[in-house]
């Protein structure tokens, strides 16, 4: 069963993320970790508040060594990489990867290697190729690969790059992604 979902988004990502999280049940039996490209100066809490207002899940901006809890969404803080270790998340201020910090590849690769077949990766709208390599790593270690339908994405470069790297990925409109994630992760027995 999948107990970690990682989501990467860039240009146009906020609306896509809100659409997915809006239909997600509070009791999703997995932790969700999000890397959204945004400016280092972006308002510290506005992004988290916007996401939090649109979902029943708990949303928090990730802090260093936060334990991974099911039913919780962890958002990468601006100007840090966010990585997944076996039981927690870690931050890094190492150089930007492909001009991005947080980098989706950095998040996805660490999630793939720490959680292997228990991890699912979702690549959403964006105008670059970040996430393609990371999604490939998730797929080759037995995890689930999901890509937003490029036809409906605000910018299709990122989903197309991900599909080129992982041709077997499930292609879905955002409206259908939440229910697939529920299918993959299941619901916690005791819901809050």
């Amino acid at each position: 069963m999948t107990d970690l979902v990682v989501i990467g988004a860039s240009w146009g990502g906020l609306d896509a993320l809100r659409a997915i999280l809006a239909t997600m049940p509070a009791g999703l039996d997995a932790a969700v970790v999000v890397a959204q490209h945004r400016s280092p100066e972006s308002h510290r809490t506005a992004f988290r508040d916007l996401l939090g207002a649109s979902t029943r899940m708990q949303v928090r901006e990730a802090a260093d060594k936060d334990a991974l809890r099911t039913g919780t969404v962890y958002v990468a803080p601006p100007d840090y990489h966010l990585l997944v270790d076996p039981d927690s998340v870690s931050l890094s201020t190492d150089e930007a990867v492909h001009f991005a910090r947080p980098s989706i590849d950095v998040l996805f690769e660490s999630a793939a290697e720490s959680h292997r077949e228990r991890c699912a990766g979702v690549v959403l709208t964006g105008a670059n190729a970040d996430g393609a390599h990371g999604l490939q790593r998730i797929a080759e270690l037995g995890g689930g690969a999901i890509v937003q339908d490029p036809e409906e994405a605000v910018r299709d470069e990122m989903p197309r790059a991900a599909l080129k790297a992982v041709p077997e990925a499930r292609v879905l409109p955002v409206a259908a992604i939440a229910s697939l994630l529920v299918e993959l992760c299941g619901l916690a027995k005791v819901s809050a």
Partner: protein, 286 residues
Amino acid sequence: MAVQVEHQPSSPEGRLETEQLELELLLEGVYRQYGFDFREYAPASLKRRVWRRVDAEKAGTITGLLERLLHDPDVMERLLLDLSINVTSMFRDPTFYAALRTQVVPVLRTYPFTRIWVAGCSTGEEVYSLAIVLHEEGVDDRTRIYATDINEAVLERARAGVFPLDKMKEYTENYIRAGGRRSFSEYYLAKYERVLFDRSLTENVVWAPHNLVQDRGFNTFNLIMCRNVMIYFDRTLQTRVHELFYDSLERLGFLALGHKESIRFTGLEDRYEEVDAQEKLYRKVG
């Protein structure tokens, strides 16, 4: 008898497990040959940094890197740079430096003399930022800053005070947002593509090697700054370093961490009061 393994070494899972073993052997080799202990670093970021050195040395595998560094200290020197340089900028998080100016300096001003420890100072950006704040507040002549890092080569760079010219635009913007009172360019001389910071800023700075993982405390301080250094440590190591900081702080001394770090789960959270929750500024009370 046929050799049996859980995963075929050629499969992605098998390669990952072999790589994990190689990483452990590398850290063991580094520790036993050179005495640096990276075994309690957070695994994911550590692995990325090690692979950067494997690729730069064209060593092919982590074992290939181990083979080279055991026989060639220059390779170890370069790996040490990769593992110990923490990328930062002057006045990173301008609001933190503004808080330092308005909430910490007024307290320091009431003491006849203060000691500050910048732990894990890397290439010195934070030390120069701090020195500028203290200078503008007129407390620099009764303050001593102890700037320490695990890596002596990095300390040399920090001490030299030479930084790339193309960073000055970003640093100037940060400085202004941090409440800087002058023109940032007063603090450096530009020459070709680099700038040299005013030597008088660091007259009261002691640059010294110190390994947070293995060395003990060496003084007591009124302020300890350690921002975005411990994010590379696992939680066990973080807790140990927090104990070192606690023991090294004067009563009512300040502790400054990075924006996304905290003293939760260190067992010491009750010993501090929160001075500024957003800026991760704490004060030792217990």
